[in-house]
């Protein structure tokens, strides 16, 4: 049984991880927790399910999700967060919540509240290492891995990626080196949005697409971002996996209702005992 739960945990964990990646990047570079990440996911999911319904292709659905979420994310930056530069953290937080509500309301009006589902063929489980893995899960893991590959290649292999990491590590120093903040920010919000889009699509494939789906996933994403250490991309993904696995594996013990609270407990524990998380660079918590 634990094997089957572990498989579920890995897929769940990757979904959390991707969103946590978006959150940690925004947190690390723009320096506030982006509460609109969940609803950005939802936007991607709706784009994906609409395109998939029209074309039947998961690849184009993924592309649609990435494009939609990246666009929404960039819009948030250009219209809202850029104008809040220099303002208090509270202003960013409140504005992010407001933006999240707006996205959710628009999606609700555009698509209605009835669930949308991806019509994908279901198959018998595949045996891997003695575990029965549903082929859909396998496909999702592959998609996630490829997306993560892209993001890490960007962060570590390109100039803009290096600059983003520099800003995350030390914004003042980065500015001293002449790294242009606006370019970085645009890149940041596009990439973070794209990650949310993939996560949203995955969640939509795994479950159903409704306007509330992203908001419900938000707390886990925050917990994973903090657990992994703010600003650390691999930390966020790793923490997401840990959290996903923990939630699934703990349910026989804590019950199906309280396993949701696990994210909260992890959050508290990390902030109390190891505020910089597993891979965080500095104790920026206080």
């Amino acid at each position: 049984m634990f094997g089957a739960l572990a498989v579920a945990g890995i897929v769940h964990g990757l979904i959390i991880g991707l969103t946590a990646l978006a959150v940690t990047m925004a947190f690390g570079i723009a320096r506030f927790p982006n509460a609109a990440a969940g609803d950005t996911m939802t936007a991607g999911a709706y784009a994906a399910v609409s395109v998939h319904a029209a074309t039947g292709s998961l690849v184009s659905a993924t592309a649609a999700a990435v494009a939609a979420s990246a666009a929404v994310s960039l819009a948030g930056y250009l219209l809202i967060f850029r104008r809040l530069a220099g303002r208090s953290l509270a202003a960013h937080l409140v504005a992010a919540i407001g933006f999240a509500f707006i996205i959710r309301a628009v999606l609700g009006l555009m698509f209605g509240h009835q669930q949308r589902v991806f019509f994908l063929p279901l198959g018998w489980p595949i045996e891997i290492l003695g575990l029965r893995v549903p082929p859909l899960d396998l496909a999702l893991v592959v998609v996630a891995a490829i997306s993560l590959g892209f993001v890490f290649a960007l962060l570590h292999g390109t100039a803009i990626g290096r600059e983003m990491r520099a800003v995350a590590d030390d914004p003042d120093l980065a500015r001293a080196f002449g790294i242009s903040p606006d370019r970085i920010m645009i890149a940041l919000w596009l990439v973070a949005g794209a990650a949310c889009g993939v996560a949203g699509m995955m969640l939509g494939v795994k479950t159903v697409v409704t306007p509330e789906m992203g908001w419900d996933a938000l707390l886990s994403a925050f917990a994973a971002a903090i657990l992994g250490g703010i600003g650390s991309a691999p930390g966020a993904v790793g923490a997401g996996l840990v959290l996903g696995l923990a939630q699934e594996l703990s349910s026989p013990f804590v019950g199906f209702t309280y396993k949701i609270a696990l994210a909260f407990i992890v959050l508290l524990a990390v902030l109390l005992f190891r505020p910089r998380g597993l891979f965080g660079q500095r104790d920026a918590v206080r």
């Binding site: 809202i80 202003a91 409140v94 009006l109 609270a261």
Partner: protein, 295 residues
């Protein structure tokens, strides 16, 4: 018509109390509490359960406020070592966890079935009399809360709180530990939320977990921001505006039947609250009557 307006005023007064609690926390110290609804819920359930166990309502309301304050204490102790945005995330989780506990512990709260038949404040035969009296009691509580706020703001305790808001390091350098003060403020604001929750239970007479969702916290936030952060009059104005908005949408549908379905109206309301949050943050962060120093 008066009875209907009375009923709206009662709900508005509850929101005023809730918003005042938030204003104490955020307006005076900058604590970002995204879990306000959790204390509202604790207050509602406490007063409901106690009054159904034959405890007189004034006592059950006091207990509601007290329990909410007590619940805030450990949150305060734990979370006040954190930067404001981490605190916000933790409180968001707290609000959700309260709802989960209410849902799960059916032996205590009847879980998702909710608790019907909660006694009213004034079980008068004439509904209007009862409602008017309730409104008066609520108004008195709001007034008391406002006066307490003003006293705190003017006291040495209050001056320290203002100082914390503006510069915590300086306060610490003077040898004062902000944490203790912050915890007390958090507890006080939460007590008000708990009291508001208690009143809510006795007015609606039926409570269930899905009435205590995160959206309620953000209603209080938008009320506070619209009215003007840190100002008592701001909290009152904001809560009234919020109430006018929420009830006003009822009449929009009367005026334009068929334009928007009920389900769509829910999305429109959500979007409007979100838009208000963004626009006020961008263009008028001091709210309608707030002070300019607050950004």
């Amino acid at each position: 018509m008066e009875a209907y307006l009375l009923a709206i005023s009662v709900i508005a007064a509850i929101y005023v109390l809730l918003t005042l609690g938030l204003t104490i926390q955020y307006g005076l110290t900058g604590l970002i509490n995204f879990g306000h609804v959790g204390f509202f819920a604790i207050g509602a359930y406490t007063s409901a359960l106690l009054s159904l166990a034959a405890v007189p309502i004034p006592l059950s309301l006091a207990a509601a406020a007290l329990l909410a304050a007590l619940a805030a204490w450990p949150i305060g102790l734990l979370a006040l070592r954190l930067r404001e945005d981490y605190f916000a995330v933790v409180t968001l989780g707290f609000g959700e966890t309260v709802r989960l506990v209410i849902t799960s512990e059916r032996w205590l709260t009847n879980g998702v079935q909710g608790i019907p038949g909660i006694p009213r404040l004034f079980a008068a035969e004439l509904a209007t009399v009862g409602t008017t009296l309730t409104l008066l009691v609520l108004a008195a509580c709001c007034l008391a809360a406002a006066l307490v706020m003003r006293r705190i703001a003017r006291s040495p305790f209050g001056r320290i709180i203002e100082a914390i808001r503006d510069n915590e390091d300086a306060v610490r350098a003077l040898g004062k530990d902000p944490s203790g003060f912050k915890t007390r403020v958090l507890a006080l604001g939460s007590a008000l939320a708990g009291l508001a929750g208690g009143f809510y239970a006795h007015v609606i007479t039926y409570i269930s977990p899905d009435q205590f969702i995160a959206l309620v916290t953000f209603y209080a936030w938008i009320a506070m921001i619209m009215g003007g952060v840190g100002r008592i009059s701001g909290a009152v104005l904001g809560a009234l505006l919020l109430m006018a908005f929420l009830e006003g949408t009822r009449f929009v549908r009367d005026l334009f039947p068929g334009l928007v379905s009920e389900v769509e109206m829910a999305s429109v309301r959500l979007g409007a609250v979100g838009l208000a949050l963004v626009l006020f943050t961008l263009f008028r962060p001091q709210g309608l009557v707030g002070d300019y120093t607050r950004r």
